[in-house]
């Protein structure tokens, strides 16, 4: 994208280009600021003592004087359930992401093969499911009654394993890989699966990084399937665990208020919620820097047809 700005890097940058550059910097900075500000506030709040917050409300600026690790200590005092939630979420994310990326790229590759004359038919077979679906209830009953998803680890893997959207991204990307690569390998006698694994996949790193990130995010942030299918609290995902904890903290506060009991610094509910939020978001954010350089390249979209 920067090659169009090749002239801009030379010292005599036109005034008009400069103006656009400055306008871009101002507007994008504003928006970027709005995007990070909440995170900043939450992180500060999670390190602030409850007594300070009761007196002054949430802090805007960090201050060492009121800093405390109390909230994190309380959250991790009894780490059993958090560790378990991390383990469930982590394993679902790793297993699920591998399967999801493999399915999307493999299907996308077949549909990108121009010599496969049924590819448009199959494309539409997949795409149709985004146009029409049976709705929540039949799907839910199918999963619960016939596939026995209740309290099964599969219910955290399967619902997110294949997405037509990811398949379309894969197909669009692979349509950009020269067909002659597949063709010449076929002449050499390689079969399609081999071509896909040893020729096409290595050329698709940006795609794999992009789809990997999407899938990992979908699994890491999943609370919906957990809410629908899991009632056994040793199998809660991190996000659902957080949702439950936020719910019960609210309930606790209402109970405390109703009983007329003064809120003391004994339970730092607010900062605990914040600390828990930070813990639940956690490592997934760290994935981004690794895939950022592939991102723009990996995300080409095209229509279903053709």
């Amino acid at each position: 994208m920067s090659s169009s700005k090749a002239t801009a890097e030379t010292p005599r940058m036109s005034r008009d280009l400069k103006k656009m550059n400055i306008l871009g910097i101002i507007l994008i900075s504003l928006f970027a600021l709005v995007c990070v500000l909440p995170f900043y506030l939450i992180i500060i709040a999670s390190f602030t003592s409850e007594t300070y917050m009761i007196r002054n409300g949430y802090p805007l600026l960090p201050s060492l004087k009121n800093a405390t690790l109390e909230a994190y200590q309380l959250c991790l005092k009894n780490p059993g359930s958090i560790v378990r939630a991390y383990a469930v979420t982590g394993s679902a994310t790793v297993i699920g992401t591998c399967l999801a990326v493999f399915m999307a790229t493999m299907t996308g590759y077949v549909l990108s093969r121009k010599d496969f004359q049924w590819r448009n038919g199959f494309s539409f077979f997949f795409f149709f499911t985004t146009l029409f679906n049976g709705g929540l209830v039949p799907w839910y009953l199918l999963c619960v009654r016939y596939l026995h998803f209740k309290n099964s680890f599969l219910s955290l893997i399967l619902p997110l394993m294949f997405s037509v959207w990811n398949m379309i991204i894969a197909k669009s990307f692979m349509a950009g890989i020269p067909q002659s690569i597949s063709e010449s390998a076929m002449i050499d006698g390689a079969n399609d699966m081999r071509i896909f694994v040893s020729l096409i996949l290595p050329l698709s790193k940006p795609l794999i990084a992009t789809l990997g990130l999407f899938s990992a995010l979908a699994y890491w942030n999943d609370w919906y399937n957990c809410m629908l299918f899991i009632s056994n609290d040793s199998m809660f995902t991190l996000q659902y665990y957080l949702q439950r904890m936020l719910g019960s903290a609210e309930a606790m506060r209402t109970v405390a208020e109703k009983s007329g009991m003064p809120l003391t610094s004994a339970i730092p509910l607010e900062s605990m919620q914040m600390a828990m939020t930070v813990i639940a978001t956690g490592p997934i954010v760290l994935l981004y820097p690794f895939v950022q350089r592939y991102f723009v390249k990996g995300l080409t979209i095209g229509a279903v047809k053709g």
């Binding site: 002239t7 039949p138 919906y224």
Partner: protein, 315 residues
């Protein structure tokens, strides 16, 4: 497009020849085909539940028929019109403002010269996309809650009167639209940025030589070249125009009855029917109503687009 297709496939092979030649490709499609059959096409057959009185023993297929009673029950509840209107209006706002924000920030990002700035700004803009709606809801609650929220702390500091967001339904459309844009723009802008990257750079250089200003290049080159991408994104969104973003509405509004008139969408409504009343027949009827509305909308819109400009149609 059509012409290309015909020159590529010179001979149409008969069925058994295709199977023989491409059996490996078919095998590679098999997992996805089975998946979609089980998780998408099977539930489609389950829409008959909308016309049945669900019984545990009978399951989806063997429960007794119930005529249109499920739909009547839905009508009697009298909420369908409201949730449909909410879903539609929210989605129209999301689609329209989404395109403006995503395309706008992609174009602006492309105008910025400093690579480092671009990289950092993009990472920041992407951050909200990384969190779940649970976390987003928690963050929002802690910023806007009446007693201790950061927002009201600031309002008090500048001497303005505090806002009790969680008891003020008419503010919610703005809040929800803001949240959606906040979470989605970073991702959406990358889609457009990827499209800008793929554009022919010679076109821009030629325009510069001819003395075009930056604004003219954006107006007459960049934006028109982004139209195909925009059409795909918009048509895909229109296909879901009667589906609310469940996480957004469920995790931020929680189950506040006071806020429901302004925030209830079809998805949250169906979910409550399913969970609170366990009335499978009625919630299946609501789901069918939603699916049919979506299907009609996308079929009509894609048909219109196809008529005007076949290249931009989705299928």
């Amino acid at each position: 497009m059509k012409k290309n297709k015909q020159t590529e496939i010179q001979v149409k092979l008969p069925f058994n020849k295709v199977v023989k030649r491409h059996w490996m490709l078919l095998l590679m499609l098999l997992p996805a085909v089975i998946y979609v059959l089980v998780f998408s096409y099977m539930p489609m057959t389950g829409i008959i539940m909308a016309f049945k009185r669900y019984q545990r023993a009978g399951g989806i297929y063997f429960s007794p028929w119930n005529g249109l009673n499920n739909f009547k029950a839905l009508m009697i509840q009298g909420k369908l019109g409201m949730v449909t209107r909410n879903t539609l209006l929210y989605n129209i706002a999301f689609i329209f403002l989404g395109v403006v924000f995503e395309m706008g920030s992609a174009i602006l990002l492309n105008e910025i010269v400093s690579k480092l700035f671009k990289k950092v700004a993009q990472s920041f803009m992407f951050l909200p996309y990384f969190i779940s709606w649970v976390v987003a809801g928690a963050i929002m609650y802690n910023i806007f809650n009446y007693e201790k929220g950061i927002f009201n702390t600031v309002m008090a500091a500048i001497g303005a009167s505090p806002v009790d967001l969680y008891n003020t339904p008419h503010l919610w459309p703005f809040v929800l639209i803001f949240l959606k844009l906040w979470k989605q723009t970073g991702y959406g802008s990358v889609v457009y940025l990827a499209a800008i990257t793929g554009l022919d750079q010679e076109m821009f250089e030629a325009a510069s030589i001819d003395g075009a200003t930056e604004w003219q290049k954006i107006r007459y080159l960049t934006i028109p070249s982004l139209v195909p991408t925009m059409m795909i994104m918009v048509l895909l969104a229109i296909g879901n125009i009667f589906r609310g973003d469940f996480g957004l509405f469920y995790q931020t509004v929680k189950s506040s009855a006071l806020l429901q008139p302004a925030t209830d969408v079809i998805d949250t409504y169906v979910f409550r029917l399913l969970i609170d009343s366990s009335d499978y027949g009625v919630s299946a009827a609501a789901g069918l109503y939603q699916s049919v509305l979506c299907f009609i909308t996308i079929t009509v819109c894609n048909g219109i687009v196809k008529k005007i400009q076949p290249d931009y149609s989705l299928y």
